[in-house]
Subunit: 196 residues, 2 copies
DNA sequence: AAATAAGGTTAGCGATCGCTAACTTTGCCG
DNA sequence: CGGCAAAGTTAGCGATCGCTAACCTTATTT
């Protein structure tokens, strides 16, 4: 019955807003936030630029909603995986797999989140940052529990490094998606194992 | 006598051009290429915006020269390390160390290269892309030689992933620079070991 | 059928952008 | 000292930007 929740399609019917956000994400990822005009986004969904203001208060608001829902999705997914914790090592494996799957199925969203944080409104950026920090904490906890002999600062740096590893390949298509997901998961876990 | 060559300071006396490029890199990294105005760059080096045109033909040319010299520096350094090859494993270790050192000592340059490739002129982008491809090839060769049982496509994907791992932490300062360099090197090699 | 609200259009505003023009200052060299 | 080239200044151009205003079309509701 319930569809698997993906960011930006939150249960209620997706419709126009989601379509616009998806197109905007694609464009932001490719050209950068300031490199994309309101008319470009409109054209990408077949309407005129100003028509977008029937759905969003501003261009800033589009980016804000985009990054907000991504951060919320990651935090929710991460916390859920960490809560179901059986053994520490399997938790880490699940976190890796979760993040890899997200990065591969939403490459433009991952790219935008990585590159365009600085373009957010002060208010939006504070909120997104807070969510991201909590997501990192989930990872830090899992790393500390699973990898012996790694301090908190090291765990935090390692988490960021692994995000970079996973996030930087969304447009790499030398391998099929399945094989790439497997490879990235192995690389990430191999890196974390070496952190101790 | 000879100073260690760093990108953008190529032997001949650095002076104004280099100073401008360094300031521009910092700004591009923080706000994105289109988020930085010519006046901002000028102000960052204490002159007016239009004065920059005594040193560069255009804003595009600044980004082009910036990314060009970064790519050239990485390719040169990488090829040199690979040429001195003793054992395959030590080659890979040297490549990792080289890239880590560069990323940590020039965080803004690494950030700009990662995020702003799409903002280059067609001509510039082609040239930079060509250099980057050759740099990746150096890594693919080293990975294939050092890690048993990894095909070319996997090696290429792994190389990109390791770049992401190393490049995504330049502003992480939970650890001292020395400790962070050690950690990143271990993580990178751990990841590559798991690629096989 | 009339009323209403949602979602679209074009025209155009003020601000900002990259860049050029015209002029001034600075420092070196014969 | 006079001359000149390099490096800076301000004024302002054409283009583009985010966004608003005013209007139109369509579908739903009563």
């Amino acid at each position: 019955m319930s569809t698997t929740p993906t960011p930006l399609t939150n249960g209620e019917k997706a419709s126009r807003r989601e379509q616009i956000l998806a197109a905007a994400a694609e464009l932001f990822a490719r050209h950068g936030f300031h490199g994309v005009g309101i008319d470009d986004i409109g054209a990408a969904v077949g309407i005129s630029g100003p028509a977008l203001y029937r759905h969003f208060r501003s261009k800033d608001a589009m980016l804000g909603e985009m990054l907000g829902s991504i951060s919320r999705f990651l935090l929710d997914g991460g916390t859920a995986r960490a809560a179901e914790a059986e053994a520490p090592e399997t938790t880490l494996g699940e976190l890796v797999r979760f993040h890899v799957d997200f990065a591969l199925s939403h490459p433009s969203l991952i790219t935008v989140q990585e590159r365009n944080l600085a373009n957010l409104t002060d208010t939006d950026r504070r909120q997104v940052r807070a969510l991201q920090r909590r997501y990192v904490e989930v990872w830090v906890g899992a790393i500390s529990a699973a990898v012996p002999g790694v301090g908190e600062a090291e765990a935090r740096s390692a988490a960021h490094a692994v995000f970079g590893l996973i996030n930087s390949t969304p447009y790499n298509r030398y391998l099929g998606e399945g094989d790439l997901a497997d490879l990235l998961s192995r690389l990430a876990l191999g890196a974390l194992r070496a952190a101790g």
